[in-house]
């Protein structure tokens, strides 16, 4: 069965995915900051027992950190199945849907984090999936909920709806022309924030960015999503304009860059993560602009390669610990085996 990142959804030329996360706490346990190890284990076990018994989660895979090695945990984090925060927890457990599009994390910064992914731009479906899981869980464990403040969270920055909705966007044109810094600095006034998915600070190999709501209280989930979607829509349009400009003014250079990137991806014998992400970004934009014509497999998701080449997923696929050079060789091989052919 195809996982969410192996498909393309609406507006996939720019939008990779729509994600919703809901933060929930269980009423009777202290929150993570004041939860001792014994109570945490107790909370995890009881919650897992409750949820594993739900018919609605019957086809989900349950996991417990007690049974996972470091590679498995890191690989899940690289595929966005679990958060970085959860990965670094000593005790944690959770449930994952067969397509890895819905994930329930237990003992995150909040007791329960429900997460859903949909390919492309479709926040309505993403919210619906997360909210349905939330309804089920809320019937089995009593949530910490306040008449005035709504869903109570460890951080004041998530209280109310407890919802963080985000789009993952591919923005090579805006980032390449230096327009992104300006856009990022303006997002705060709309209660939104943009961060880079791969890399830190100003460097963002792969040009993949996440835009999400920062405020969670006072507006309804629908209003928060509408705000995010409207602003994201603006950014998507600007990215498309930027790409069209690039094609209009420098068509030869643009095609050359996309085909050169494809060539290196196809024939390189070792690749660093950063180089591979940069090349895949060029290739992805070329594909979206139709440079590879109709012969290139339609609806191919380049993002699955961006996930597959992450260090822990590669090591998990090879079933062994790899040194840096071995990792770079494995990365080039993985890309070669999975890159679509130009006929």
């Amino acid at each position: 069965m195809a996982r969410w990142f192996e498909n393309n959804g609406p507006d996939s030329d720019v939008v990779i995915s729509s994600r919703v996360r809901l933060a929930r706490n269980i009423r009777d346990y202290n929150f993570s900051l004041k939860l001792d190890e014994k109570s945490a284990s107790d909370m995890i076990d009881k919650t897992m027992t409750e949820l594993s018994g739900c018919a609605e989660f019957a086809d989900y895979t349950g996991y417990n950190f007690k049974d996972l090695n470091e590679y498995q945990k890191h690989a899940m984090e690289e595929r966005h199945t679990i958060s970085r925060f959860l990965m670094e927890q000593k005790y944690a457990a959770g449930l994952v849907s067969p397509e890895e599009d819905v994930s329930v994390m237990i003992n995150e910064e909040d007791h329960i984090r429900i997460q859903s992914f949909v390919s492309g731009r479709d926040m309505k479906s993403a919210y619906h999936k997360a909210s349905s899981a939330d309804d089920i869980i809320g019937r089995h464990v009593p949530y910490a909920y306040h008449e005035k403040y709504g869903y109570l969270t460890t951080c004041l920055s998530s209280v109310g709806t407890g919802m963080r909705a985000s789009y993952m966007l591919h923005l090579p044109a805006l980032s390449g022309t230096g327009q992104l810094a300006g856009i990022m600095s303006e997002l705060g006034r709309f209660g939104l924030k943009m961060t880079s998915v791969f890399g830190e600070g100003s460097s963002s190999p792969g040009d993949i960015y996440r835009i999400s709501n920062q405020t969670t209280l006072g507006l309804t989930e629908q209003e928060l999503i509408d705000n995010l979607d409207n602003i994201a829509g603006q950014i998507i349009e600007q990215e498309r304009l930027g790409r069209q400009q690039y094609m209009k003014l420098q068509q030869v250079a643009a095609e050359d860059a996309a085909y050169r990137s494809y060539g290196v991806l196809r024939y390189a014998r070792k690749l660093s993560l950063k180089d591979a992400l940069v090349l895949l970004s060029e290739f992805r934009m070329g594909l979206a602009l139709g440079m590879f014509g109709d012969n290139m497999e339609k609806g191919y998701s380049v993002y699955q390669l961006m996930i597959g080449i992450q260090p822990y997923n590669l090591q998990l696929a090879c079933n062994s610990k790899l040194e840096l050079t071995e990792l770079e060789v494995a990365r080039a091989t993985f890309i070669r085996n999975n890159l679509p052919q130009i006929v």
Partner: protein, 181 residues
Amino acid sequence: MLCERCNEREATIHYTELVNGVRSEHHICSECASKLMPAEYGSMFGADMPFAKFLTGLFAAGRADADTADDPMAHIVCPKCGMNFEEFTRVGKFGCAECYNVFGPLIDDNIRRIHGSNIHTGKKYAEAPLADTADETGEEEINAEEEIDLLQAKLKEAVELENYEDAAMLRDRIRELRNGN
């Protein structure tokens, strides 16, 4: 629709803004959007300031001269998890659900500054009724009485803290309960 600022260009950005609990719809063009002065709460997020620092900063500014020993705030402790006010402002996180009742009223202004509001309007949570008490009407009446008592205590506290917005909400809820929901 025309942009509300320049009345010339087509409005392409539509968003709902909340400032101090007041909701307003905006329709602006992208040119005007880039000239907009940052809204107060917006700028909080523009800078990558962690909440803990933000909260600590606010309190430190107002209490720089306060002698901790005599400071009445220092004695506020959450009865459930043991979090005290000093720790709360230092880490900027809540220790349990009860913390919201203990520290919530003290930071209402900050909540509004961060979110633009201090009242949840989204999805509501109703805990599933327990099978054995659901159909016992007698028990429900007792629960309503108990809730009214609790709400009245909260109302008293809200009035003392001059938190009139909360007080009004509590008063409405008590009235609802008295009229049999």
